[in-house]
Symmetry: C2
Subunit: 348 residues, 2 copies
């Protein structure tokens, strides 16, 4: 799934160049890192990307031959994750009759590739053998209030665990209690299941979504496919797969992952992809830091000089420059909203 707008990395991410096309790690853009990460257990020929229709040309260009053209699924409108996943499941069923399908967001970071591969192979085998919905729960490093949690319990004699409940992002005390008590994992949003199985859940739990998916599925491979997608897709109810299916399905299984996962969600969480210097600064691009501490500084076309400042995010994008306290990195959304309100789309 690589369709997001990524306002949280504004002004580096923009409407024209969303987050999945950012090279935050200094190695490659997020979507390429995500595709390459799966190649150790998925045949590269079998990788699909769902994205916004307007981004298809850029996606094909930037992924540099990683993707087959007909494996790029273009959404005419963003309709949340249930629609996106259902569309992909339908495509897989059409192309392969059936198969185990792994779902990833394009903006995660994994530190330990070998362990990741091991867990994912186990997840694929679990989905094949049990026909259950399988998700990856991350062993928590710290009492994060930024992630949802999965309450889970062991299944005797099995490598997987039983999901008891998905819970929302907790407050600090609750997060502390989850960590101390055990039996809670971070909800990574990675899923593994047979395509036919998830479609069965769509039919049962999200019949309105499913009827749209069915129309699209019936048109696949016919001359009307593009037209049907253009007409039907924008009317799919907007709902997340977590809320619409995962939280309501029975018998969901979880594999525990402990491979240095993080959601590269905002300017204050870049430690996952970049190692700070001795004073806690993460600097990329052309920067000059004098007595700066614990700052994230991103220079683009210009030199960014940060002098005597601490705990700041300073980012130069193509059309704008952002300065804010690192602890308030979520507020970038307010800036984006203010610009939308003022019609300043030239800066978005």
């Amino acid at each position: 799934m690589a369709g997001g707008g990524g306002a949280r990395f504004w002004p580096l991410s923009t409407r024209e160049e969303p987050k999945q096309f950012l090279n935050l790690s200094g190695r490659d853009i997020l979507v390429n890192e995500t595709v390459d990460r799966q190649r150790t257990f998925i045949d590269p020929q079998d990788i699909f990307v769902v994205t916004n229709r307007t981004q298809v040309p850029m996606l094909l260009e930037r992924t540099e031959g990683r993707l087959q053209r007909d494996h790029v699924l273009a959404e005419p409108a963003a309709r949340n994750t249930a629609a996106c996943i259902g569309y992909a499941a339908m495509e897989i069923v059409k192309k392969y009759e059936d198969g185990v399908m792994c779902v990833f967001a394009a903006d995660h970071h994994i530190r330990d590739q070998a362990e990741y591969t091991r867990v994912m192979r186990l997840a694929v085998r679990t989905a094949e053998e049990t026909d259950a919905l399988v998700t990856i729960g991350i062993r928590p490093d710290f009492p994060s209030t930024g992630y949802g949690y999965i309450k889970n319990s062991p299944v005797p004699g099995k490598p997987y665990r039983a999901v008891e409940e998905f819970v929302e992002k907790p407050d600090a005390d609750t997060a502390r209690a989850y960590l101390d008590g055990g039996g809670y994992a971070w909800n990574s949003g990675m899923f593994v299941w047979r395509a036919s199985t998830i479609l069965r859940y769509f039919r049962e739990l999200l019949p309105d979504v499913f009827s749209c998916l069915e129309k699209i599925g019936n048109a696949m491979g016919t001359p009307e496919e593009a037209e049907v997608i253009r007409e039907v897709y924008p009317s799919i109810p907007k709902i997340s797969v977590d809320y619409g299916i995962m939280e309501r399905a029975r018998g969901v299984l979880m594999l525990e992952g402990d491979f240095g996962w993080s959601d590269v969600g905002s300017w204050d969480t870049l430690e996952a992809v970049r190692t700070p210097d001795g004073r806690g600064n993460i600097a990329f691009g052309d920067t000059l830091l004098l007595d700066a501490e614990n700052c994230v500084v991103y220079g683009g076309q210009k030199l960014v000089a940060a002098v005597g400042v601490r705990d700041l995010v300073v980012v130069e994008g193509k059309g704008a420059i952002l300065v804010m306290p690192r602890a308030e990195a979520q507020r970038v959304k307010q800036v984006v909203e203010a610009l939308e309100r003022d019609g300043r789309t030239d800066r978005l």
Copy 2:
């Protein structure tokens, strides 16, 4: 005098576009504001500007017809204010035989033009009648530690005062004592005197400088003028007129000025030229401030968004962006020095 590099306004001021060409007030560039300010008491035909040779074409262009070509005196090298003023005095003596000469820096700001004109007319009359060196002392608004002071005393029955001593920038306690005790004015660096008088002081107090000026003066109006200036000027001893003459001359007089003077010296002193908003912010150009307080924010080509920050300077120049605490605005020099050391002249 409009020859400075103006590193203190980097990255807005650069080597190619120094401070005197900045429009900090939102009305006009500093050099034009300075020229126009004198027109109420000096015939525009009699205004001269001394600047660096490399800046002459830009100066003529940006001053938009304010200056006659032969009233722009080009320094082949920066040799401090004594050289600059001596060169101008020699030119005036050659062109006019003699005359009262007023000396201004191109980077001051005056709020009350009418009162300024009144004081300057009085200063010109004083120089004509007494043949003394006359300077303008500013009545202090607050115990500034950023300006030098002039200790002075009344002269019975006269509008001018006697200068007793020039004193360096004081510490906070000393500045407080100056203000409380009275008899101290800020040293504005504005001077009024007959050209012949200041040259007499050069001959007496700075004979090495004077002998260079004499060579240049003798060549003025001859075919060798340009060559002599090119050869002699760079060898003039580097000394300020304050240190070389004012502090050592006898009978210096002072007119007190109370016309909203300020030296537009650095990013933290912009209140003089720009009125802050209700939260103490001074913003120019394309900016977006959300919960910012007491910041100076300058957007150039890009939008500058400042969110949840306080007491910061954020400036976008053509080649660089600077973020620093407002209280540490002097540190911009360290950045400029670091870039010079690193050979990053592209950013200077």
